[in-house]
Symmetry: C2
Subunit: 236 residues, 2 copies
Amino acid sequence: MLARQCNYEFESSSLPLSKYKDDDRGVEGFLNGLPETTERVVAAREYIFCEGDAKTHLYEVKTGAVCISKISIDGSRQVIKFALSGDVIGLGSQENYDTYAQATTLTKLKALSYASLRRIIQEDTTFSMKLWEMMTEELTATRNLVVTVGQRSAPQRIATFLLNMQERNRRQNLDSNTIVLLMTRSDIADYLGLTIETVSRTLTKFKLQKIIDIVENRHVTILNFDKLEDLAEGDI
Amino acid sequence: MLARQCNYEFESSSLPLSKYKDDDRGVEGFLNGLPETTERVVAAREYIFCEGDAKTHLYEVKTGAVCISKISIDGSRQVIKFALSGDVIGLGSQENYDTYAQATTLTKLKALSYASLRRIIQEDTTFSMKLWEMMTEELTATRNLVVTVGQRSAPQRIATFLLNMQERNRRQNLDSNTIVLLMTRSDIADYLGLTIETVSRTLTKFKLQKIIDIVENRHVTILNFDKLEDLAEGDI
DNA sequence: CGGTACTTTGATATTCATCAACTCCCGTGG
DNA sequence: CCACGGGAGTTGATGAATATCAAAGTACCG
């Protein structure tokens, strides 16, 4: 595993670096190749859009993290998704946004106006197929969240969450065992249908069991991957 | 309210009945107007497809009910959706079904082959826009389920479920206050992330409070709509 | 009728939320 | 430079909600 990473590094270093800095992770970008996109930078905690707002843009996250959530009448919040680099937010055909989107940290976005989107769909079949695929991924992820929240215990949920974050890292950075949590405990709690106390307790329990290590609250290292998988699957 | 229902009945009785029997609810059908559809009838408990199966068809439910679910490694099941008359199942662009679809009662479906679907998308922009809208609705419904399961107490979940079922009835039959539950307590429990005992207890509690009436286990009448809404919103 | 699946009801156990106190970190301003 | 304050996170004690276990009741279908 480590040898493999070294190989990649070696190969890429023999090529112009600039070609791989941004492009490499941008190749898969949904909005790549579209000339009519703009850039938007939002500060930590700033809202990109709110539920009910007229839909103006579709966004692709370039750097940072965005918390997609819904808020009930009683004030309780459910986080639906953490949108990280490469993720697209604001899909869906409605006239208004049906969720909140809040940056959890300094975040850069690529934006495509909704008018452009509708036009492109009409013109470009390949793009609309891609849109269909994106919607499908979104739906699959949301369904998996339902399973996690509906059927699993607190430790199972946390373990599942950490493995998901690791999997995302793995697809993007290659450095998989260290997870940087770009969101607060409160965000995680609202995502998993738990309280911050339960999230905190469960994480420290994992730490005491040497399954993970936590430094500076936000940096998690997976020490025992197999155990974490067992936990996620409820084999314990 | 009751007078209004009588009015409707009166009006429709002065018109040829056949025109309103099946057509009326079929007008909005996603697959209407497509010549290449076939019909499929499945018995109660029969699976229409399983997770992992190669995707062959897209289905629209004509009569009956279909339980869409995912099953975890440990055997626990999460119901994602109850597909009733007018609902489309098997959306999504993947090569294989990612859920189970099981008829909870005798069910009739209209089927469109996946090959046809892909071809139609390429040809017909209107259709692919409609597909996008269907996916959006599906995503919205799933997100709402996450909120219900992640943030709400057992009574809130049951109340929300009953109101949703009523809302669906209202859109289709006009007879809104009586809900026929086409699924078992077990299906409801797996949908709401509860146990069958909790579902049963909560329903009988509502019955004792005169909020609903239950006859023959499957027929629920809403007696106090406002109270039920309050319960769903957690105002109690 | 008889058996099976479904449902209800009761007693108990467990998990997780709640309430409360405390620590840590960081930035601000005296 | 230090005191102050606030947000984030941790830890502990307690209680409530819901799962679990168990048993009886009911509807359904051959």
